[in-house]
Assembly symmetry: D3
Homo-oligomer: 290 residues x 6
């Protein structure tokens, strides 16, 4: 039997990823401290790896495919197939981005001002490369986290750090002067594995269902009763991609209209629907939207 070796990112994304797989139809059971959790699909073998190292494992074929951030693919300069982009739901609305920050009162205002300076970051290779391409000579040093403190303590003149809202950076008395990269979770595959038709199909199935489950987190089913002569008007208001489903009501000249909409618009949509004549509106939850 063929199997696909799939990498789950360790740490902050691990729980969210396992929960997303469960919504997609796969139960992953992490037994204690093992790096190889069980999954209820004989065609998949799971492995847990740090997001920072995932693309190295995918590149050398230890695993066929996996989830990691664009940032660490770049940092490792890994030669892998980027199959798709997954937008996890997050607390903030901002994308994660790697930025250059300096003390709030620093004279450093542009990339060029860093000539000859020291930069502290977890993303050493990417940062070196970024400045080299721009012919700016900088000294990049590896930081084990708490990177903001490096500037405060004089170990560095600037930092390259990941942030969503910028609030931690600000709280340490620093200001962002430049954005180097936006990053997001990617599903990546080993290039050889991706040429194998069976593996490509299996990866396609995983992507299809992961994205269906992610989409369902932000969508709901909506169903309402509408007088026959108001149908056109109601349907024009509905922001659904597909045409709504129509059914009749028992012994009545009303019809039932059912569709799927973005959960965020419901609170504004319902008052409008009522004003046009809809009644008996119900909203129900969805597991998957493909």
């Amino acid at each position: 039997m063929k199997t696909l070796k799939f990498g789950i990112p360790k740490g902050s994304l691990q729980k969210a990823t396992i929960s997303l797989f469960e919504k997609s139809g796969w139960k992953i059971n992490v037994n204690g401290r093992s790096y190889f959790p069980d999954i209820n699909d004989e065609e998949i073998e799971c492995a847990i790896c740090r997001a920072q190292e995932m693309s190295r494992y995918v590149e050398n074929g230890t695993i066929d495919a996996g989830l990691t951030g664009l940032d660490w693919i770049e940092e490792n300069k890994s030669d892998v197939e980027i199959v798709d982009d997954l937008v996890y739901s997050k607390v903030s609305q901002e994308p994660a981005r790697w930025v250059l920050a300096v003390p709030a009162d620093s004279n450093i205002k542009r990339l060029e001002d860093l000539q000859g300076k020291k930069i502290s970051t977890e993303l050493v290779n990417f940062t070196k490369h970024y400045f080299k391409e721009r012919n700016i000579d900088v000294d990049v040093e590896f930081s084990w986290g708490a990177t903001e403190a490096k500037v405060v303590s004089g170990l560095a003149d600037a930092i390259v750090e990941v942030t969503e809202t910028g609030s931690t950076i600000k709280a340490h008395g620093l200001k962002i002067i430049y954005e180097l990269m936006q990053t997001n979770t990617q599903l990546i595959a080993n290039k050889e594995s991706y040429k194998d038709p069976w593996k490509k199909t299996k990866i396609g199935q995983i992507i299809l269902l992961l994205k269906g489950a992610l989409r369902a987190e932000n969508m709901v089913g909506l169903k309402m009763n509408v007088p026959q002569d108001k149908t056109e008007e109601v349907i024009k208001i509905l922001p659904s991609l597909n045409a709504p489903t129509m059914a009749s009501l028992h012994n009545s000249d009303w019809v039932s209209v059912e569709t799927v909409v973005d959960a965020k618009v419901v609170r504004d949509l319902i008052p409008t629907l009522i004003s046009v004549g809809a009644e008996g509106i119900i909203e129900y939850p969805l597991n998957k939207v493909i």
Copy 2:
């Protein structure tokens, strides 16, 4: 941009209220100890206030609208617009009510017997007013909770206390001899704010969706297959407000009947539906019922 300032009651109702808003379509994010939580609607500003003080804030216009109990509106004699009544789901079925209680072996049997006596309560103004209206002269003293203990210890002859089931009162050796008021959560508005058409419409949207989410907690969707000739019989049994939705089954003279019913009746309804000929009955959860 116009905004509506809305008050969330602190304490026991806070968590239930925030969860109800989430079901209604608004995420409220309480950041630590701040009184001003974030909400994902640019048209609303939230504030957290004690239920006891909410109507004072609404009356003086600090906030435009808010949720509080009828009891504290009365206690503060606040001149506010009572917009609607919200029945939260509770553990017990009994309404919350403010009652007069005395020692189980007391001679005090009616309101009149309290002439010249001492009453301990959190609801001082309301209680004073209540007895004054009835020309009974009593001495009402403020209690910081644990009001039942005031009678036991001789600090008071009777208490006016809120209760659902009466069990705490009974457990302290007291008996209820009179009910002064039933109370429930109210959505109230500042009178000036409520004259502003934009604010009135916004308040209307909040009420509509809060009540839709509350209703959905106790209702479910029900769908079943019915032989064509039993349709009338089945529909007669269904306790739904609106006419049910009818659809055909593939290559069959059965029809699909779908409706929304009170969750409590389902366990008795299903055996009856089966006895009349329904099959393939499914029940599904609802987020909102408007």
Copy 3:
């Protein structure tokens, strides 16, 4: 008013059973350490009993009906009505079974080799009877759990123990040489009670809804849009028991097809449906499938 006395098994099954009743439409409220929890149905009185003793209570009429394992019915040789079999969802896929285990290096290979030996078990009567029927003379002794340790310490030559995967038995250096019984949760009734038409009907209602809620845990609703001319092909693929519901889409020659399927097949079904031409596929959760 008539009432049915119903037994809830204590311990590991208690939480699962109460949660199953809630999904079925009954709220059971366990107040502290009382053996008689509240239930929101005036026709039922609940009692909590150990699964090991349930059938003795049902047999002597202390309770009319209850849930327990087949193993303990056999152990108690209780003369009760076995009404139905309930398959709770479990971590493993294996059935629970009572097996005979001996040290991995033992010479005991068959039941007959136990002649004159000592067996330790929690299921004393059943084990005695099982060997007596086969004319094998053994000494069966009661064990308070940790039965595997009895063989290691020389207190017994073999054990009869319950297991799903066999891993605990293996971890103690033992091997399974024989399976005596498979067991599962049963709904049992007192024989007299079951002759009472009212009680029999009430028990039937409970069974119907418990099984409907259990079934819904593993099933989902599936709805999709299909081009008119692909309908037959799509329906042939759908593994649903009942004919799917058909409805029209607004101003379109596509149709809506809706059905209920096993949750486990969805991850493989969706790619197939797409390949045949289905679109706008949504999956939604179910509370009950009758």
Copy 4:
């Protein structure tokens, strides 16, 4: 190297026992679900067993010695050496005792009234023997806990149950009519093991230190300064077993008096000491009192 196999009782006593051993000078490290915890003494091997079965393991030599209750030694009729009695500190002051209880309104008033009746208990053998000795013919049935409910439900006429304060028995509507046995934790040894001088000495060391640590939980060190001429008076008041230690104070005609007393008497002792002239009284905690 010789080793002593020592049994730690599982369940409610386990934590208290391990903590007592730690105070006595031995660290026991329970690793997960193993029955054989580590101990930092190469001369001891630990095993965890249920208190109910401990004496059977000690009798058959699986372990050399262990801690269990007198009740279970009697129940198992185990032929073991009872080395010493350990009084653990408990919430209540009452000893644990096995009592006979019947419904509060029962006609059963004496042991003799149970002739021909059914008794439910966890202590089957002991109870059978107890009534046989008194020539009372009873039917004793094993109960899996919740024994009080057996009488309420008609499965038994009386129970034999363990209790400290009697409150659980009373709460089930039963009354105690007879006390069969008082029980306490015992250190027991296998008879052969106890004849081995090395093992006897090792058991003696364990007993000595366990009792020293238990005693220290209820005792404290007390030290005070006393004018030379009040020494005799102060010493007469001190309830210490051993003569107090005397030392001089620097450049003074006061002396320092130091002793060990029961912690419970300190609150009454200190005011008395002050009244006689003691000053600078300090109390300090003890780890062991041998």
Copy 5:
């Protein structure tokens, strides 16, 4: 038998008080939600009351004595005997004090500027009285906590609030302009009770031991070996109230010096002692220092 009724303050002080009593020699056992916890002294009956109401209970004789803050004694204008002052150990070093605070940018700078203004506080009576004495006419309104928000929202011009470090007040954009009172935990007694010699003695015993246990939290025993000829020098350095205890060392011309010192000075004291010639210094914990 005579008993003393003693009040334990509810809420934030409750746990600290019960723990202090335990160190003093009394175990208080709070059973669930009862206001009357058990205590292992037949001469005391405990009651739990809110600190805000304690002095009213003491004044009317419901309880003989209790612990509460000076602030609430003043607020209730209770006529009680203040027996002693207890300094609990706290996180901050600052005393708790009731202060007057106004918006940071307010024109109000002195008490007099509040003439005709509105003040929000939990300490209504005390505040009214304080301003009346100074002939300043203010409107004082009761606040249910979150008092700082009253100014921000326009419900008040100033607040009177309790604080240790002032940080909460500052965090709400207010500034402290005046301190009205410092407060601390007091042991108070009913005046009649305090005239009863038995009760006075019992209260004296409680005070003596509570203060002894409080003192011991900040003190330690210190013992060291000193060459005979350095004794005077060492003793001069020791900051002990009482003369140290002297003992000889075995076969040596060194002496042992032992005393009790403030825990805070130890880290500076030890290097000094070493420099003068002390050796073998040990520090040990204390339970009580009387």
Copy 6:
């Protein structure tokens, strides 16, 4: 006022270090996520840094002194003053050591066999240097933890990893073939700072008290009564560094002997002391042993 900047290691050692400082006489209060916790000594400023980076901060003078492992000092090749070695109490008795491990079935048996191979480690610089010194050409790659998995997955031929018992390494199917370094917590200082007499004295005070508190964790006070004529014999048995303290007993020819011993020997010492004639032995806990 002069201050000493002192670094507390973040992560697993942080809690143990703060607790050790508290026993030594300094309270460190970590406020949320700040890197600069409060300490109750105006002469010290604390900073929290990762152990991996501590020596870089000390070397460049950001902090004057701090605690870190010998391994990370070597890794960073930091030019700092190593002031003292601190042995924290640990679960295992083994020292932490960095070892070279390969698959259990590997042909690699000695350092030399790694010629041309790939090594994965967190300690990149140290490992490179170690092999270079021995003229073995290896490719050393940085690992973000879970280093054992690097070999299993083929990313490396060997790992250099820290371990106490070797059990994690073994559990991943690897074997240890060489030990490169033993490591322990060091107190290090900046070389310039250590030349400043005030700072050197302050560092000396910290070391003195930290080591005093560490020592006290494993030592206890022991006191006993001995007949005058057995004194010499008892004292010979006592394993104390300093001569014991002698005092007389009241009206008796016994003496009191008091000393400090290693907690581990007590369980064997007490039976011996009794056999020689000692009585009334008590053991008491210590806070510091200098």
